[in-house]
Amino acid sequence: MFPAAFDYRAPSSLAEAVDILRQRGEEAKVMAGGQSLIPLLKLRFSQPALVVDIGRLPNLAGVERKDGHLRVGALTRHVQVESNTDLRTLCPILPEAAHWIADPLIRNQGTVGGSVCHADPQGDWGSVMLALDADFVARSESGERTIKAADFFQGPFTTALRPDEVLTEIRIPLAAHSAGAYNKLERKVGDFATVAVAVQVEMNGDKIAKAGIGLTSVGDRNLKARDAEKSLAGKQPTDEAIAEAARLAAAAAEPKADVRGSAEFKRDIVRVFVQRGLKTAVARARGGQ
């Protein structure tokens, strides 16, 4: 298989990239690692006139701590997150989720930014960023703007990015006494999630100050389980509180039956994974105190 013909630009600076997108954004697709886009091009689901390869832009890869948050550059490869040992204590949900994305070869080339911009409802990073309440930083010729994760995912393969914008980084707030967990059910390595659940908690003493819950593969986009999140705020993480949050998250899921399982099965996996994730996250957050 090979893609339909397209023109190709590989800008060497961000300024050049946004200039190209200002002129031709409507007919262009931005490519980072290409691990989602190239399969779409090959199947001809996507036939852009122009591919803008941002893979050569400098200073957009890597994870760093800055002003109380984590800055994940858009071109950070999954393997860089997976193998970052600092993150295992700083923000354990990130390497845990990275470990289960696609397969090792794809993780060597695919990027966090490319993955979230692809906005596959079965993608893993979207749910993680929803649970973390991350901010997405978009650059265009007219400047920079920040988009909340909850506003970023608008539907299947659809984000809030404009055609003239490129994602440059993701900012993740780093609170003390916080941790998360990512639980994913997949049939085999490389398959998309049957269901996955991202959970992040911030503890205040023996109570949950704030909880974030993101759901993968159970809707037309990565879903934020807001009612479940709210039900936990200010509560002690008792079995009852966790069970109630899990029930609310399962109710918020919109699973569809497919080859990976029935809707009822998937909804119940959400319930189980929210419980499991909350217990792990609380234990990790307490361990960090």
Binding site: D7, I38, Q47, G190
Partner: protein, 182 residues
């Protein structure tokens, strides 16, 4: 949605790669996949096309030493970088430790997945010279063997690790060239 240019030559880009140590270049359309560039333009057919949907790993090559799926890369995307294919493993007539491992442990049946498996194994041992069985299985988890010869593939990579460990202990060039300890 799309306006396919009637003049495809006008879209062509100059792609220049170092392949198994040698500079290779050609003018190709941006849509040419790395695997097709390697097989068709460079006539190196050891890199296989299996699923063509980035699921099977038969097309694995090393890009600057890192294993990737060449069916899911554009040739133009990796222009300027170093590519290693299965043809680059042997030093002349002397098999690499990984090839010797696959030979000794019967690490292949039909051989279709073998180039990818050997390249992934080679890259693994570069940064983890003594991997556990679990680490080997995780490393090859993006590569499918349809003969289901995984047991022997794991043994082959372990065998290669042992050869390399021997070679470090007694780094005689002729022993390395012979695959070591045979």
């Amino acid at each position: 949605m799309n306006s396919v240019s009637p003049n495809l030559d006008a879209l062509a880009r100059h792609v220049s790669l170092k392949v198994n140590g040698a500079e290779r270049s050609a003018d190709v359309e941006p849509r040419v996949l790395l695997v097709d560039f390697i097989r068709t333009n460079l006539r190196l057919t050891g890199t296989h096309i299996g699923c063509d949907t980035s699921s099977c790993g038969a097309c694995t090559v090393l890009v600057d030493g890192t294993p990737m799926k060449s069916c899911t890369l554009l040739a133009v995307q990796v222009s300027g970088r170093s590519i290693s294919t299965v043809e680059g493993l042997a030093a002349g007539a002397a098999m690499s430790p990984m090839q010797t491992g696959f030979h000794e442990e019967h690490g292949l049946q039909c051989g279709f997945c073998t180039p990818g498996m050997m390249l992934v194994g080679t890259a693994l041992l570069e940064h983890n010279p003594n991997p556990t069985e679990e680490q080997i299985r995780w490393a090859i988890s993006g590569n499918i063997c349809r003969c289901t010869g995984y047991m022997n593939i794991v043994k082959a990579i372990q065998h290669a690790a042992a050869i390399k460990a021997e070679a470090v202990k007694a780094p005689k060039p002729e022993a390395v060239a012979a695959g070591g300890g045979q």
